[in-house]
Point group: none
DNA sequence: AATGAATGAGTCTTCATTCAT
DNA sequence: CATGAATGAAGACTCATTCAT
């Protein structure tokens, strides 16, 4: 891992790192972590195998690099801040669309890397801290505020938020597993999900 | 893969297969599929490596064997039939407790084997058909009936059911990822989940 | 290898040995020695793997057994004795037809077992002593007699006989290698060969 | 299998390939194909096992490589072209000495590799096309020409040529099998063979 | 005498990693 | 910094042989 002060060199280094990570992500997505070979990653990246090891200590660090980089792009951005102002339903719909869209783009890669994440405590923690927890806390804060304002009702906000977040996660998993109804009706899911979350299944008498 | 008509021998074969699958499940759970070696599985099973191959064609078949065996224990049993009669909330709570309890017991193994499932189309299909789809359809039928009776309200039953099922799945994933609130409050989850599903977050005026 | 005095038992033993050798020959012929498994030989023979080892010390002994048994069937029989009386050309034609016919029947097996024969000095010697040398000597004696009678001309009878015998062997090899002209014209070979051997290529003036 | 345009690198690659093929030939010759281990080949070649697989896809390709390389050294060279001008007897003697000399040098290896050749259709075809057929056709053309000029007599030239070629092949086999007269009188074989081929065994009256 | 499940040494092959150029 | 040939440890899988039943 080259270290330098020269800003130009730094940029080159960063570019080369990204070039390698892009290739790694692609190959991991296709083959899964273990079946992906450094040779193929090098080929896809257009560099030699040796070069990879000039930028990453080992194959596992590529996964860390990918996740870390994903996180950088993945800040809860201003869009959300605005959504915060809007109604809860709009907020959640925004999050749902944003998250699932984003994750879908990286779905192949997440799927390929998930094994390593699930097995390695270090990666698990890192993944959780960077991707799961921030969203949970963001939603939590938001929902809590609305509950206090009487706009929403929830006995246990943190757990309720987990249930909602879990629903998003689970729906993605079910899609990956090839569930037909889900794949066919994916565009309708936001409405279905919001109806479920906000209105519940029990009929509302006077409405 | 011995095949025989002799019932005694059949039992021996089944016992040996289970002995090996137990070991495989254990080692997979610890190491993950790829890092688990046949040598270690053999050691844990107390047999030789060769013996494994007398019962399974290859390492991958151990995964299939594990999943298949899980499925056998995992029939939607009479408990559910009764639940069918009960109220919807009771039904779902029963399913939730049953499923998550069951899966938790095999959580380590699911975690270890999930990667292979996600990557291998064959395993994915098999897993989906045996574990996901039956439950989805069971719930779907049930919910549909109640909707028609006016006890529940849902615009799109199949998708709504997926959302519910996805919530279960996702909650397990979040737990595996080490979410603290979830681990701490797991016992309260059924109530939280049911409140969310049936009542929704939006306050009900007259109640 | 069971040893017994009981003649009935002896017959059973011999029968079982042959049963196994037949299977071994078949499988060796298909797969070659190394790729043939004792398991498959046992299956083809309709016995268990263990039984093979009650009759033969190891896999290699099956080859020895096959060769030895071939030799038993392969005595220069009375047919030849008669041929001895006939003219030289007729004799050789008879031998050619007989040998090549016989060998062709076992060609697959010879091909499969040849590797082992060529590599193992013991098998090589055995094969040579039982199959090659007797014929060479038989022809040698015969040709020698005719040379002395002035019917044939050959400066070095033993070597000449080897050349002739070599021709037979070589033609079989070329056939096995798939030579088209040879396969197409195989039925004409005896005449071609005899013309070559007896008349040579050089034109005979006065004829 | 490195591929490159750089001529220096190409030479290195060729050298390394030869180094490995030499070792493989040696070990195959000693042990036969199946009993030869990649480990021993690597040791003899002075490289690691892994390096072998940088140059050859698998063990079988070593055999192909050996055969192919033999074929390269084995072009029908100018020597033959000259022989073509000479008398038929001289031509054949030249071929005989050349071929048998050449093959003898590689005899051990041919012996080791022959099994694989006989069993593998691919290798068989390749071997036949590269070693057997060209010679057969070369001799055929030559003999045909002489027959037409009246210098030789043969009813069926292609088959007669096969008989002659077969004789060469067969004599080598008999030698490998350890035939004593052949080993003792090998130096006299060309004359014996030529006498047989050109004059035949039948006495020529007027000579 | 027959069985066939168990054995485990042995092999080919892969691939992350190193390092001389 | 880049290269990519060399490395060799590691692992899945095979199969001849044994032996308890």
């Amino acid at each position: 891992m080259p270290a330098t002060q020269d800003p130009i060199r730094e940029q080159l280094v960063a570019a080369r790192r990204n070039q390698i990570l892009d290739a790694a992500a692609k190959v991991f997505a296709e083959k899964g972590f273990h079946r992906a070979t450094t040779k193929e990653i090098a080929q896809v990246a257009g560099v030699s195998e040796g070069t990879i090891y000039n930028y990453f200590a080992n194959k596992g660090d590529l996964v860390i690099g990918i996740i870390t980089r994903l996180a950088k792009f993945d800040q809860l951005d201003s869009e959300f801040a605005q959504a915060f102002q809007s109604d809860a339903r709009g907020l959640l719909t925004a999050i749902f669309r944003d998250r699932t869209g984003r994750i879908e783009q990286n779905m192949e890669m997440v799927r390929a890397v998930l094994p390593e994440i699930l097995i390695s405590p270090e990666l698990r923690e890192r993944f959780y801290q960077q991707f799961v927890l921030p969203i949970a806390e963001f939603i939590e804060k938001n929902v809590q505020a609305r509950v206090e304002m009487g706009y929403l009702e929830a006995a246990n906000v943190p757990l309720t938020v987990r249930a909602v977040q879990g629903m998003f996660v689970g729906l993605l998993i079910l899609r990956v597993l090839g569930d037909k109804p889900l794949q066919a009706g994916w565009d309708d899911m936001p409405e279905v999900v919001m109806a479920l979350i906000f209105d519940g299944l029990r009929p509302r008498d006077g409405e």
